[in-house]
Symmetry: C2
Subunit: 783 residues, 2 copies
């Protein structure tokens, strides 16, 4: 038991390797080898810029938060339907580098390519391509290209292109290109939408080249955002350049390096690319900003930037890596690291950008941020890199104004309602039953915030931003439902969509009601804490938000009286009020090729009227608040949902796996985990070309740490209930908690907890309180 | 008590009169004075063709069933979303007739207009305009223009234009124009849609003129339908024509009649206009078809056509008129006749067209047919002109194939699902929560059919078409729900929208479940009847539909086990499962100017989460099947819905009025009735410009006959429970029933039933069986 599909790439601990160039798998591989630093994202495309069509490849370069808008058209628009789209814009490409040996252009589609390997070093955060190429005319060269998107200099992509003439001497031309005639593939990556940045959307404002630099500045037509980008070059040995020339047109430019190549002597071109937007510098000084940045990068040189990159990445792995040992564990190990690598590199880190459901790896979902960030990704960062978690929360806090305005559009006089999908903080979902109706996004954000506060103890964040966010989200819950006489005065929330996208516009979605209650509880606690500890802070909030303590009184009433659907016969919590009443799902009526694509093949009403669930919904709520349920309850509910859930979302199996652990269904848990670990690496959903599934990737971490190791944070305290999958000998991971670093190692008959950093730590293992009182201290439990 | 607004037009028994030409009220008046025969519709525009803009007027000429399609764009399309729109197309105008006295063109915006009256004679079906005009240069003419859309010749509009020079002799020029450069006002009349036949959609195929005729043929760009139209003229005295000339361009043409006008001598131009489409004749022979039709009309002459028109209309009024006597009754009398007139003239009569919610009076709702036809309009025709009712049912039967295909799209393997809005039989609703989800359309059509069969006893129709329609609609109900364990095995229907458009995608909508059950019952009875009486017919159906008797067994189980939401505390039937749980509606939170326009000012989720109802929903079901409820039950439910219903639909008040009668709330009933009677005539909704509200207009008839007189048809038997509104002395109406004509007269202390035609009739008055056994016989009951 393990993976469900043969591995696409060789199974390696720390690398992903492409062993041949192949047009058919190119589009997918571009995602696999995509690099990012949370600010810039660039797809794993080739420097030769092969002319792929819309089905075989997409040159993609993105800057987090940089989008274009189009007028959205509706069959019938509703009040509050977003009028403008937000699509992560595909930006000018500067990676393009063409090589000519005499008149022969290097292309892997001509001549003969040998010793080919493209390697993503996940450990180092560097992508390398090596090959030996013989031109049709018989010239032989070794080529090695290195590429990284710098964590140290967030505006910089650094490249190093080495050419070694093996059997000839003669003219070698290197052409470094800036190509701004680019466009999104919206129709391919978002087939359901009929708008989008079709065609070239950047209007060029400036484009020039000289013999070392190329520069471009352009502005989007509707969103009116300005991007500037450029590249700078170092050729070595510098004396080898026989001639350098350049040209610049409206939408492209190039520098031509002509070199007298000598057999056995390596030519190296270092190339630094910079992207910056009018968020980084005023439009008028963007030229200087980019130029300065490029010169700085050039001065440091490729090698130094790569060293820094490794340092940064090693630091990440030092905390975040999960090691497993056991049968076939290498495949899983590779999957885990692949997932962690992409999650890590994709997260916005500047406090004004979030993390797209596809990271910055492709155009899928238009680059939008969803709840995926808070419920799947944030817990990983909270325990491994809380600084990144904080910056992602900052992004949400920074869009509170838009969320307040949105709450008004939805008829709430107070509070803030976060958008279901967005880049700029405004709602971009064009189909509200699967979009705005997912009010749970509010509670999801509050949940992640509360978890961050608990795990870090970051009180100043709580006072500065956290309390406000908790209050503003809670207020919408207090207005969205009502105490229903016909339900014994319980608080009911109607007409929402829970996480499960096959059951839309329902009443009393279990997950939503549960999460809303906890959102309210966190807000009540926040207010109570401030009243006790920092009345001035509370007063300031009261003033700023027009908030009064009466509201907290109402919240308490709601908390005490929240309604939950309950099925007496089965003693389970149905998904919502109407779930049990629906027609039982009969998959035999669905042709196999349509089974995983219901919305593509069936009318929403057909889907809605059946008793089945797309993904973890009530079960997710029970995982997040598992201390509120007995194991017996969890088991009954799990058994029920196990039967009715189709797992048609990539966000589902990892959650089921976690709950399966909790109730002792270890085999099932392992199956789910394995599914999650290599889902993207082996492209289970056949849509990896459009970008990574960030939520599931983060879910893999959770499946181990929260699943197998049973980590929960309850009233700011850590609880573990570790189990070991039968096929494994051992697994190890680390988590950060209130400034400490705890290493956890689970073996068949032995649990080991080590306080790697920090003065002392307290936690629970299988409900037993454990305290390690000095750095380096260890707690060992024989099982 | 009576009408809620001052009358716009003078209160007259049989006429609607416009007493001045006024640009501000023109758009509305164009609807008031629109004429139709169910095939052609032409708005009440002026012959002078004033250049009104999109806010002040719309020259509109329509042919029932003639539409153009556009690709519909969606923010996010669903499987099964209609891809092409259907919009009743605005066709070339031929009414345009310009008059020149010397060089001075007649225009009511120049010179002086006196003795002005535009009169719609509802009794005759003729529109007349008379005036005395003095040109700026002092020439005085009397003008009288008569216009009718012929019931006798369905392709013909006939006009007579009389000019009497009062104080001068000299050249009078008459220009008869064909203007094909026309377009729809979709953006104004359907502000919510972002598609539509914007711009000129007919591609001219042919346009010619000679000295008596003009002809045009054009084809739509997307729906590929061909229209031909033309006009023919008779000038008299014929010798007065000094010169006749003509011209024809790509999109317009004209005939110029130059006349030596003499003081005191009348010049008359008769003009006959014909419209025909490729449904009337093969495209190649449309020229001949139109030409022949025009020559026939011309040969008969205007006067004869007007005589025929009167004959036809008088015949209609002979059966359909409702007379009332009492305080202020004239206002209501006028409203009733206005409503009946428009309903009568708007209905498609050729079996391949239906009746638009706006008739053929404007572009509102894109000219679509809705359930309005079956639930509001058909009962009126069934009792007054069953032949028209049958033709409207024929239209639905004729689109069964499209409805079957639609059922498949919705995932039903058997049966037919009729579209929520359509022209050509295919679904045209672009927002399924308010469109396709209104499955009740199926039961509505079945209800109207069953009522037709009961009231007419038309067995051959039943066998030929009726049984098939009942079976095919029933089959969808048997697949849409399921026997829900959690509801004691009762049959639940989830995720539908009832008539109430503020509560969408609900579970167990009371109206839907009730109507579905009765649809199934009618189907069961149909099958049982055929098995007994005509096994060959049943066998043919079994073969044609792949129907088996097992299905009828399932239907019976569903009938016995249909679930209905019930509120124990209040002992009422809530609108649906979730209705009672919603937030109570607090109108004080809604600014007055937004109260009647919720969808324009509030997000659907805001509307959905509140406990209020847009229109009669459960109450409508209780009216249609009132024999299933006790008076006490009706009263409790009425009281409840009275409180929560906002009557934001024009389909609401007439139904509440009917139920109010049944439970003895006479004053309230009267108030509702008055509201309905003059709703359009006095433009209560301020949107009459876009077209009539046909459903409410028909609802006025129902409010009297089914309301005050309490008519119900139960197991094919008629029941009356007449009451007299306190302000009235008397009201009289007639109904057709199984070939007989019954006159009903209700006075304060006396009920009189007369069998005007037919050999005998049996019915119930306040549950007492009455039989009149000879033509002319009378039953009188003193009260």
């Amino acid at each position: 038991m393990g993976v469900r599909k043969e591995a696409i790439y060789p199974v390696q601990e720390w690398e992903i390797t492409e062993t041949e160039f192949c047009r058919e798998t190119n589009y997918r591989n571009e995602t696999t080898f995509s690099l990012s630093n949370g600010y810039i994202g660039t797809r794993g495309t080739y420097e030769e810029a092969y002319p792929f069509d819309v089905d075989t490849g997409l040159e993609g370069n993105f800057v987090n938060g940089f989008y274009e808008s189009e007028k959205i058209r509706y069959g019938e628009a509703n009040f509050g339907s977003p009028l403008l789209s937000q699509s992560l814009l595909n930006l000018p490409n500067l990676k393009e580098t063409r090589i000519y040996l005499g008149e022969e252009e290097f292309s892997m589609e001509a001549g003969r390519t040998e010793e080919y390997a493209r390697v993503l070093s996940m450990k180092d955060g560097v992508l390398t391509r090596r090959l030996l190429w013989t031109s049709p005319g018989g010239r032989k060269v070794r080529i090695e290209i290195r590429r990284l998107v710098s964590f140290d200099m967030k505006h910089i992509i650094a490249m190093q292109y080495e050419i070694l003439p093996v059997n000839f001497s003669g003219t070698v031309r290197i052409v470094s290109v800036l190509q701004a005639d680019v466009e999104n593939h919206t129709r391919k990556t978002n087939p359901i939408v009929d708008y989008g940045p079709f065609g070239r959307k950047l209007k060029p404002l400036e484009l020039w080249a000289d013999n070392t630099e190329i520069f471009y500045k352009g502005i989007t037509q509707t969103s009116r955002l300005t991007i500037a980008c450029g590249s700078i070059h170092t050729l070595s040995p510098s004396e080898s350049a026989a001639a350098v020339s350049h040209e610049a047109h409206a939408c492209d430019g190039a520098i031509y390096f002509e070199v007298q190549g000598k057999e056995g002597e390596k030519i190296t071109l270092e190339k630094f690319i910079c992207y910056a937007s009018d968020r980084d510098a005023a439009e008028g000084s963007l030229d200087t900003f980019v130029s300065d940045m490029l010169r700085k990068a050039k001065a440091r040189g490729y090698r130094q930037l790569e060293e820094k990159q490794k340092e940064y990445m090693h630091q990440f792995w030092e905390t975040a890596d999960i090691e497993i040992e056991g049968e076939n564990s290498m495949e899983l190990q590779q999957g885990i690291r692949f997932n962690l690598f992409h999650v890590f590199q994709s997260a916005g880190r500047d406090g004004r950008t979030g993390m797209g459901a596809k990271g910055l790896s492709g155009e899928g979902y238009e680059g939008h941020y969803f709840w995926d960030t808070e419920m799947y990704v944030l817990p990983v960062f909270i325990y491994t890199d809380p600084e990144v978690a904080r910056r992602l929360l900052d992004y949400r806090y920074g869009t509170l104004e838009q969320a307040r305005a949105r709450a008004r559009v939805l008829g709430h006089e107070k509070g803030a309602l976060f958008p279901w999908r967005t880049i700029n903080g405004e709602e971009a979902s064009t189909y509200y039953p699967l979009g705005t109706a997912q009010y749970h996004i509010n509670a999801d954000i509050a949940y992640a915030l509360a978890l961050y506060l608990q795990a870090t103890g970051d009180l100043s964040y709580f006072k500065e931003k956290g309390a406000e966010l908790l209050i503003e989200t809670a207020r919408v819950w207090a207005d969205a439902g009502s105490f229903a006489e016909c339900r014994g005065g319980k608080y009911c929330i109607c007409s929402v969509t829970g996480p499960d996208e096959y059951n839309v516009l329902v009443d009393n979605n279990f997950y939503t009601n549960l999460m809303a209650r906890e959102n309210l509880r966190d807000a009540v606690n926040a207010v109570a804490y401030l009243r006790e500890q920092d009345p001035a802070c509370l007063e300031a909030l009261e003033k700023k938000l027009g908030f009064s303590m009466d509201e907290a009184g109402l919240w308490e009433r709601i908390i005490e009286n929240m309604y939950f659907p309950y099925d007496e016969a089965r003693q389970i919590y149905p998904l919502d009020d109407g779930f049990m009443m629906r027609r039982p799902w009969d998959e035999s009526r669905i042709p196999p090729e349509k089974r995983a694509w219901l919305y593509e093949n069936y009318h929403p009403l057909f889907i809605m009227r059946h008793r089945m669930s797309k993904q973890a919904d009530a079960i997710l709520g029970m995982y997040l608040h598992s201390s509120l349920f007995t194991e017996e309850e969890l088991r009954r509910n799990y058994d029920f949902y196990q039967e009715v859930t189709l797992h048609h979302s990539s966000l589902s199996t990892c959650i089921f796996g976690i709950v399966a652990c909790e109730i002792g269904y270890v085999e099932e848990a392992y199956r789910y985990f394995a599914d999650s670990a290599r889902m993207d690496l082996d492209d289970y959903h056949n849509n990896f070309y459009a970008g990574i599934h960030a939520a599931n990737m983060a879910g893999t971490w959770q499946a181990i740490v929260n699943g197998f190791a049973g980590l929960r944070c309850c009233n700011s305290e850590l609880h573990f209930k570790p189990i070991l999958p039968p096929l494994w000998k051992k697994y190890t991971f680390k988590i950060k908690y209130r400034g400490s670093l705890l290493r956890v190692c689970v073996e068949k008959d032995r649990l080991e907890f080590t306080l790697e950093k920090g003065e002392s730590i307290q936690f629970y293992v299988h409900s037993k309180k454990v305290r390690i009182s000095e750095e380096g201290g260890t707690y060992i439990e024989k099982v």
